[in-house]
């Protein structure tokens, strides 16, 4: 186990705990840059999708993992990002560099406006309210047909930055690098949030609203900011998803997508950046693994192709149940345990990560 000898307060403010950690993350980043030289175009497309899901997942993570507010309606904010991004480009002929952040801002403002009334709700009631937003968003897209194209959908033009064109089919590798760059920026912003007063006030609202108030945190305002930041990031992810899908309709950003997002962060590990990535990898890789297995089985059984409808969502559901039962901290939690096991070998104890039973709580004064 590494003991970091801290000689200044900055040691706890720095992005990386120690040099070795910085080295491993840089190595990972280098590997991510070099990925196109290691795998084919199809898999690069899948990797791009992983990154986009991870961005959306990080958006929801701010809300669910950091601030402890449930949301079953984040696909709606992905939709806001995707639609506004394309509309800014089409109607105001904005370049991508301008329309993309503006799309995020639009989603963020939408999130803040919606947060004002609904964050007065707690727990399951908040979940139901956000669920309603997801359903409403689908209908709104259909109703606002002149703007959104209704059920026939909207076509996302290629991303163009200073005359250079990014297209999913034309040059998937460049698109992957672009998304990777955006992901890096968002991870950096997320880390900043965690180490600043903002992240601490989110955690305070998550763990105890009554003492957050007693420490001078304006709970209503903090929840609104959390919604705004969360929807901003999710909106950016949605805008990228729009470009990646090239054509999207009211059904693209449906309720299933909201729930998928929630599954991603729960399976990945709530409250961690890693969790969003792990979850996104599982979610994107699952259909691949299924189709590969199916092919193998077909060869083995020497029969026609086997198709089981709903297999994918069924499997994902089983995985989720498995995680909730056996590893509530998600894949990242398991990873932490394995790492600690080897770091402390042979002194790891089975109960090291067991949650202590909570003591009596103060009666809630809402």
């Amino acid at each position: 186990m590494r003991i970091v000898f801290k000689t200044s307060y900055d040691a706890d403010i720095r992005l990386f705990k120690h040099k070795a950690q910085a080295f491993w993350y840089l190595l990972l980043f280098a590997l991510a840059i070099l990925l196109p030289f290691l795998i084919g175009d199809f898999l690069i497309g899948e990797a791009t999708l992983v990154l986009i899901w991870a961005i959306c997942g990080m958006g929801l993570m701010v809300l669910v993992g950091q601030t402890g507010q449930a949301s079953l309606g984040h696909a709606a904010f992905m939709a806001v990002g995707a639609y506004s991004n394309v509309l800014y480009q089409e109607h105001f002929s904005m370049p991508f560099l301008l329309s993309f952040p503006l799309a995020g801002l639009t989603a963020g403002v939408a999130g803040a406006l919606i947060a004002m009334p609904i964050t007065k709700l707690h727990g399951i009631y908040l979940a139901i309210a956000t669920l309603a937003i997801s359903v409403l968003a689908e209908d709104l897209i259909v109703i606002m047909e002149p703007l959104t194209g209704g059920v026939s959908g909207l076509f996302a033009p290629d991303i163009e930055i200073f005359g250079f064109v990014f297209n999913r089919y034309g040059n998937p590798v460049e698109l992957y690098w672009l998304v990777l760059g955006i992901t890096l920026v968002i991870v950096y912003l997320y880390r900043n949030m965690l180490r600043s007063p903002l992240g601490r006030s989110f955690a305070a609202v998550r763990d105890s609203e009554v003492s957050a108030k007693a420490m001078g945190i304006n709970v209503a305002r903090t929840k609104m900011v959390a919604f705004a930041v969360s929807c901003f990031i999710t909106g950016l992810g949605g805008a990228l998803m729009g470009h990646f899908a090239t054509i999207f309709t009211n059904e693209t950003f449906n309720l299933i997508m909201s729930i998928t997002l929630l599954l991603i962060i729960v399976v990945g590990g709530l409250g961690t950046i890693h969790g969003a990535f792990f979850g996104a990898i599982v979610f994107v890789m699952l259909p691949l693994v299924i189709s590969l297995t199916r092919d193998a089985l077909t060869v083995f059984a020497d029969s026609g192709s086997v198709t089981i409808p709903g297999l994918e969502s069924g499997l994902f559901g089983i995985i989720l149940i498995g995680f909730i039962l056996f590893e509530p901290m998600g894949i990242y939690g398991r990873w932490l345990k394995i790492r600690t096991y080897f770091e402390l070998f042979p002194f790891y104890r089975k109960d090291m990560f067991r949650r202590q039973k909570s003591y009596l709580k103060t009666e809630r004064t809402r």
């Binding site: 900043n192 763990d207 103060t362």
Partner: protein, 262 residues
């Protein structure tokens, strides 16, 4: 002028009168204790001062100004910090982060500067960290700095919560049963700390406590309550020997019971 003054404060929960026409004042630099049987309204008084409850009648003055117009999150800005009876720490955060949340009222950054982590935010973080380190030194919390609250024993949590309130740099500290559930040695520590909070830090303390030994050793003045009404106010000795207080705790000689047995 008293630091804190309650004037004829009454609070009702429906038909139940939780606090009935209570008036008292806490002077700058003293330790003032509220005692009384369970359900006497002691914690309710603290909750009213930290604005979680609003009294139906009466007024609460801090430094001569009414605080009834303030929201709960404005109270620490005024200079009033508190702890809770049943420990309300941020469980999934480290001790250090918990204490830093206590510095929230002193943060001048907004969410944009925070997300970008501007040099100003970094400089501010260092200042807050230093302030928190003073509290850590004061309460001997060095071994626990980076530990998650979820894994800490009860006694340490109690101390961390006191530290978080001290990190606010309050003028008035409200302690809700600082010694409940603590061992004799830990209670002794709490007594020393309360003395030091008063003498070294110059913070006025208003506490609710059942441990009469602790109350009589640290507090300058005591008020006894029963069923939401004031029974007696004065030095610990005066209150302990007041017949009305003895009656509330033990019942009267003639067998008619008034008040709950403690």
């Amino acid at each position: 002028m008293s630091l804190l003054e309650l004037k004829n404060v009454t609070l009702r929960f429906g038909g139940l009168v939780a606090v009935n026409d209570v008036s008292f004042s806490v002077e700058e630099g003293e330790v003032f204790a509220l005692v009384g049987p369970n359900g006497a309204g002691k914690s309710t008084i603290l909750n009213m001062i930290s604005r979680l409850y609003t009294p139906a009648e009466g007024d609460i003055l801090f430094e001569g100004k009414s605080i009834l117009g303030a929201e709960p999150h404005d109270v620490p800005v005024l200079g009033i910090a508190r702890t809770f009876q049943n420990i309300e720490l941020f469980e999934q955060a480290s001790v250090l982060q918990n204490l830093l949340v206590g510095r929230h009222t002193h943060c001048r950054s907004n969410f944009l500067t925070d997300m970008l982590f501007t040099p100003f935010v970094r400089a501010q973080e260092r200042v807050h960290r230093e302030a928190v380190e003073h509290v850590i030194d004061f309460l001997d919390l060095q071994p626990y700095r980076q530990k998650l609250i979820a894994g800490l024993p009860y006694g340490v949590r109690k101390v961390v919560e006191m530290g978080r309130a001290l990190a606010v740099k309050p003028r008035l500290l409200l302690l809700d049963e600082p010694a409940s559930g603590l061992s004799v040695e830990e209670t002794q520590d709490v007594a020393f700390w309360i003395e030091d909070i008063k003498k070294v830090m110059g913070v006025t303390v208003l506490m609710v406590e059942h441990d009469m030994h602790l109350v009589s050793s640290v507090s300058d003045r005591v008020m006894a309550l029963a069923d939401g009404s004031m029974l007696s106010i004065g030095t610990p000795q005066e209150v302990q020997t007041d017949p009305a207080v003895i009656e509330a705790y033990l019942g009267s000689d003639d067998g008619t019971e008034s008040g709950e047995a403690a």
